[in-house]
Symmetry: D2
Subunit: 349 residues, 4 copies
Amino acid sequence: MLRAGILGATGAVGQKFVELLDGHPWFETTALVASGRSTGRQYREAVNWIGATEIPASVASMDVLPLGDDLPCDFVFSGLHASIADQAEPMLARAGYPVISNAKSFRMHSNVPLLIPEVNPDHTSLIKVQDWQSQGYIVTNPNCSTVGLTCALKPLHDTFGVNAVQVTTMQALSGAGYPGVPSLDALANIVPFIGGEEDKLVHEPNKLLGTLVETELLPASITISAQCNRVPVLEGHMECVSVKLESDASKDEVHDAFESSVSPIADLHLPSEPKKFLHVFEDERFPQPRQHSNLGAGMTVSIGRIRSCEVLDYKFVVLSHNTVRGAAGGAILNAELLMKQGLLGTRNT
Amino acid sequence: MLRAGILGATGAVGQKFVELLDGHPWFETTALVASGRSTGRQYREAVNWIGATEIPASVASMDVLPLGDDLPCDFVFSGLHASIADQAEPMLARAGYPVISNAKSFRMHSNVPLLIPEVNPDHTSLIKVQDWQSQGYIVTNPNCSTVGLTCALKPLHDTFGVNAVQVTTMQALSGAGYPGVPSLDALANIVPFIGGEEDKLVHEPNKLLGTLVETELLPASITISAQCNRVPVLEGHMECVSVKLESDASKDEVHDAFESSVSPIADLHLPSEPKKFLHVFEDERFPQPRQHSNLGAGMTVSIGRIRSCEVLDYKFVVLSHNTVRGAAGGAILNAELLMKQGLLGTRNT
Amino acid sequence: MLRAGILGATGAVGQKFVELLDGHPWFETTALVASGRSTGRQYREAVNWIGATEIPASVASMDVLPLGDDLPCDFVFSGLHASIADQAEPMLARAGYPVISNAKSFRMHSNVPLLIPEVNPDHTSLIKVQDWQSQGYIVTNPNCSTVGLTCALKPLHDTFGVNAVQVTTMQALSGAGYPGVPSLDALANIVPFIGGEEDKLVHEPNKLLGTLVETELLPASITISAQCNRVPVLEGHMECVSVKLESDASKDEVHDAFESSVSPIADLHLPSEPKKFLHVFEDERFPQPRQHSNLGAGMTVSIGRIRSCEVLDYKFVVLSHNTVRGAAGGAILNAELLMKQGLLGTRNT
Amino acid sequence: MLRAGILGATGAVGQKFVELLDGHPWFETTALVASGRSTGRQYREAVNWIGATEIPASVASMDVLPLGDDLPCDFVFSGLHASIADQAEPMLARAGYPVISNAKSFRMHSNVPLLIPEVNPDHTSLIKVQDWQSQGYIVTNPNCSTVGLTCALKPLHDTFGVNAVQVTTMQALSGAGYPGVPSLDALANIVPFIGGEEDKLVHEPNKLLGTLVETELLPASITISAQCNRVPVLEGHMECVSVKLESDASKDEVHDAFESSVSPIADLHLPSEPKKFLHVFEDERFPQPRQHSNLGAGMTVSIGRIRSCEVLDYKFVVLSHNTVRGAAGGAILNAELLMKQGLLGTRNT
């Protein structure tokens, strides 16, 4: 068992790390790190727990630790806000900790892998180019709205090439954290704006679908246009996507590309890897966030309504669980991949 | 005062007609028509009233009439389901009644005006080509999701020409009528499918933006791709739109086209015509359905977030009130236009 | 026209004052007062407007003023938080302003009227006992959950005497102001606790239903037990009430007491007084917040499901609009009563 | 393994049986029974699956059977509507099948156990008095709103005696089945009426808490008054309860009665029995349906906000999962108890 620390352990993402790591076969939570107010208190006292299950008994009475460079763990998951991650993550990498981060701070940095194990597992080799004068490094997972889109684009890009993408998102409230969106803005309403989100959707998929030439990452060159909306849904980001392909493809071929897509890491049998990476629905009413966000314990990405697009080539709907696949679950899968690749191990302290 | 009948008076759209006609300066509700069960009962007993205001006193104790060709009114508004409208509307036109319909049955018929007064007021001349052997005729208003989009496209098409449109809708529950969407499908959920809706969005705007050459309507030739979603909102359809223009336009020119757009019927001072046909929001969080659907008593169409589109040319958000502008209110405005054009008058019976 | 100031004009209650005073026949908004951040900016710039109608043109470009004792108005409405009202309201009363307050700070003070015009219009004479060394005074309206309950108890208490009350509330999100309840606590959820609310329901109705003996207020002695819940509703507090009466009453007599209840101020024809103070529904599915909160422009209190209680004597449901009748609208009605009573006039400055 | 049939397998309750029986250690689903339309089709085709997990693979391709007296199973769970259960359940009992029913048809029949294993496990002996001329019998579980209340009353009634109860419920939409409540009645709204529900709350708890004297059941004599509301929550019925006790009790003693309550069947280690039958929250904001309905896999009943009641003696909040503990899960626990008691076994056919 490796010892995992959780940075920002009392926040919404931090809580999801706590929940998902409970009973994990490889990782054990040994350090809960949070800001000043919480430090020194038991986790159960410090946290405003928002999960639908109880605080795991194994961590409930653990003392919350201050952020520092000497944490009792082998590596850390970071659920920090970018404003804190900016400083804290390099500090910990320098101190020798692998930092598996959900923060946006270093996602687009040229030496930092932006990682979805089923999409670009080879990008972890960028770690070698990081120079923290230590065994530490930073690996990031993408924005919650990027994950579903990129997982869906992956088989299309591999098979036909993707030229252009139009995407309109309908994103769940949990994506804004807690307290997040005021209820008077959320109930029976839509907010057609999420700060910074559309820009992430333009750039992150291209990095994720990029090609590694030795240690240089050549991003893909898909033109992406995004419109992002906050909708009154609890979990699960829906995305209406239209794509323009580089080569001709029939609707059946597009369907098959999704349906027959095999995860490149399937044979690693990572604990958080779902049986099915992509699930294609034939029922035109599906997927729906309330029913299908939890497919594959929240790690399966759902696709539905594949059909011709009058303007581009094909259009379809994508659903992914924003706090599991799109945040904590995605980061944990990253850590599992790194472990299998021999890049994560016991820390000599 | 002209005497108005309401077909399907106990349904969701019929109720909205009742509500909006209460206190109307030109029209007085004199006939409430509904199906067998309701016939002969007082309206207040027959209807399962879902409005947020009380049943208007003037109609509450009126007897509900059966559908027939001898109704005590000068013209009728139709809130019928298409399955009934298919037969009932021609029957009434033949009997000499102008039928101002919200049903989809005859919208795409070549001799029937599909009408938004601010968009194509001249299309009413198609009435002349209808041949019911009577003074009767049928005029229709478009689908609730078509209205907002078409009102927004109108100034762009007039100014720059529109080649192609990508639209993703997030449509309110009231658009499905009552009982409509089951709450377990609606609460905290999205249904990415609305039967027949996407097809209407492809065809109706082209008819509305078409050109009348003598008595033949040449539709516009905009390529439209639509993705329609049902979301947990009560009133107000939001649409994320991207457009490709025929001629070059700067973002400011696009903004000005919206902002300076003048309703071609402004000088008619129709009672239901809002002061502002289009309202452009500068605040990037707006428009939102809960706050802005009621602008201009539900007849103003709101536009926001005008910006460049990476794939087509420009993108923006449109909001319109689906049961007012998109149904009963739109039909009443149609009747007002017809009256000013001398096409609606007292019936000699 | 009297000149009205609004304290806390950018807050949720303040905005409702602005909205309801627009077009008021007696009062004109001449001073918008808010905290430091907003001071000196135009109202439209300073406010995060949350209403479903536009900011009234008459105030949109008005400069926001700092709190002070020299405001350009004849009296003030206070939508301040109690923490600020504690100091600000006495300061303004001392400076000679009638303060018509929605804050809780002075509601239970022995010399301050806690006022619902239809319940205890005579309590305004308590003003005479206030001693601010000026023409100023403070008058308060009750908590949003108290209003509906007390309006419903009034005819029962007058007719039969009320001994005891059990009330369970289901309160709308708007009662918590903005940003108020986080959406993750609100959507598809209930929070069975509202700080301080149950205590207000125990004490305020007894003061409101109390008897004035010269200048001393003898509170009623109804034993009240309250359980307060926050529910995902936008506007309208629902309350399930059971009462024990002092004298025998048949169900019909209870029904008649509600139905035939006449507002003691009906002959004053106050602008905000609804035609019907209490509305009794016979349909057992009603009242419902979405449909019936707006009855009487939000000033009518609705009652339904009157029936025997197995434990106490009778039980029923009460609905009232929490931000109109329960806050700004109630305060405006208070001011209208004070004006008719000759207690509100032009200020000599 | 016993072979279980599910009656009404395509309905909302039937689906929950299917979901909860998947992977059950003692029971295996071998017969899916539904009405005419579904008969002969594969379950996955016949059902409009509304669950948040996939249809279990073990039953997805099973053929749906018609209702009949020769089903390939050892006993049946009934998720039938009362209108069908009235005839179907006696027919199956006569045919020799133990019928473990969630329908209301026979709950109040004197010979039929109304059963919550933690409350009245001995009531199963009523089976002996049933006379179907076969090995068959009927056992029922209570209404979804009764379960939480009765589980909470049980320790109070055992310890102090309960005289009277006032309960106001806030019930989840899933309690109305599918399609159930129309979304326009549910979203941002409350319906203060649920047909027949208040009556069930008056009678069922008294039967459940009754005493068996030989084979006669003497019901408890608690006076109960209920007010039932439908609220926009997905899962979990909240109830605000006030109780009058027969003997004096301090608040600590009431708290201890809940906290130290031990399930009388704890030593049976039934698979669906939660570790904690009752969970008492100290945080006054809890329990809440979204977070806590799933405690103990939906079988734990939560209690919070224990405090003195000004009118009766004590008041508190109860939450229970309406489709698990309150329907399918409760019925499965009943079957597990019957099996341990030797009343359920292999059928000789």
